[in-house]
Symmetry: C2
Subunit: 219 residues, 2 copies
């Protein structure tokens, strides 16, 4: 078995996740993209772990959301994550390129991104990690479409929830991966770490070009 | 006296700020911009109130930071704030144009942005709201320059802090506004509100073109 050497920022990030593990929102980060008109876009996404044996970060989304279109347009597949840990007062800014994985979309990515994992196994793993409620959203009406209460009620799983059933009791085949389900792989090439708790405040830059060496700078 | 009618999202936001007031980090939001190479950038900033009689949001920064250069380049003065309230599980995404105010920079903005306030009064107000520690940072070495402990120690205020003085005891004339001090005015033209706590989840869009009317959509 080959030993995997992770860059120092990934170890630091794992530590921050551990320190802040009691806070649900410690797994939420803000992800910036650029829309076709060249304007910045920003939304909260949920961190769903690292891709096996790598420093790429995983989230999931609906292929009908605008960010998927933004990342699919040519030369626009960049992201910057801003991840603030309120418990430990640390900020990570991670930037790089996005790879998108889905059953239904013809998305460009190379097998090199996935390493030893297959597309199917990653989709299965991430789908099975979701709650029944979260899975159901992928079968619901399109995000940002006008809200229609009847659509919600015509949706059998939602109806059961409305009737007071617990998500785990819902009687739909939620094992089947929705065609709208999309795994987002964030492949960072630079990381900017800031510690507001230390005195003086610490800031450290990492860059894949520089073999992820730590470079301490002014905050 | 004229009565001011605020758009419904501003009242909602004021309520979220009130509900989450016990959490220091409820005043932190993530601000996205676009760098000259067309890539998204994202960082945490502190909300420092609304501009008087308006729905513009205020933050402060150092003119030596990269975001100031990004917002000064032509056609790049756009932002999107992502503001997640972990206590009430609400997200606001506010986007629009940025105006920058500083003593030393020749920054383009119109008096219309400021309303009845003058540039000087706004700079004074925001500077006086800062702690001595925060003020001191504007006199320190440039952000992102290589960290040098000697520079920190040669800095008289920092030296006093290191010697154990409390920020309020520091003996420098911190009333004088640093030339590096910059007030950032975020002027939103669209707002996207999401409530993850309500069942079903609520999402509402607001647009200045549409006179800030509420438009309920699917989450």
């Amino acid at each position: 078995m080959t030993e995997i050497l992770y860059p120092p920022w990934r170890q630091r990030l794992a530590r921050s996740l551990h320190i802040n593990r009691s806070q649900v929102h410690a797994k939420y980060y803000q992800v910036a993209s650029v829309c076709p008109a060249g304007r910045p876009k920003n939304r909260t996404m949920v961190f769903r772990g690292f891709l096996a044996n790598s420093q790429s970060l995983l989230s999931v989304t609906d292929i009908r959301s605008e960010k998927v279109a933004q990342w699919q347009s040519k030369h626009k597949s960049h992201f910057e994550i801003c991840w603030y840990f309120s418990g430990s007062r640390e900020q990570y800014r991670l930037s790089g390129e996005v790879a998108l994985l889905s059953h239904s979309l013809d998305l460009s990515y190379t097998q090199a991104v996935l390493g030893q994992q297959t597309k199917q196994s990653l989709l299965n793993q991430q789908w099975s990690n979701l709650s029944a409620n979260a899975r159901q959203a992928f079968y619901s009406s399109s995000p940002k479409a006008p809200f229609d209460e009847n659509t919600i009620l015509a949706n059998p799983a939602q109806e059961q929830l409305t009737q007071g059933k617990q998500p785990e009791e819902i009687d739909i085949d939620s094992r089947q991966i929705s065609d709208n389900f999309c795994v987002v792989i964030f492949i960072p090439d630079t990381v900017d770490y800031l510690n507001l708790k230390s005195k003086p405040q610490e800031r450290c830059l990492y860059d894949i070009q520089d073999d992820w060496k730590e470079r301490w700078v002014n905050p």
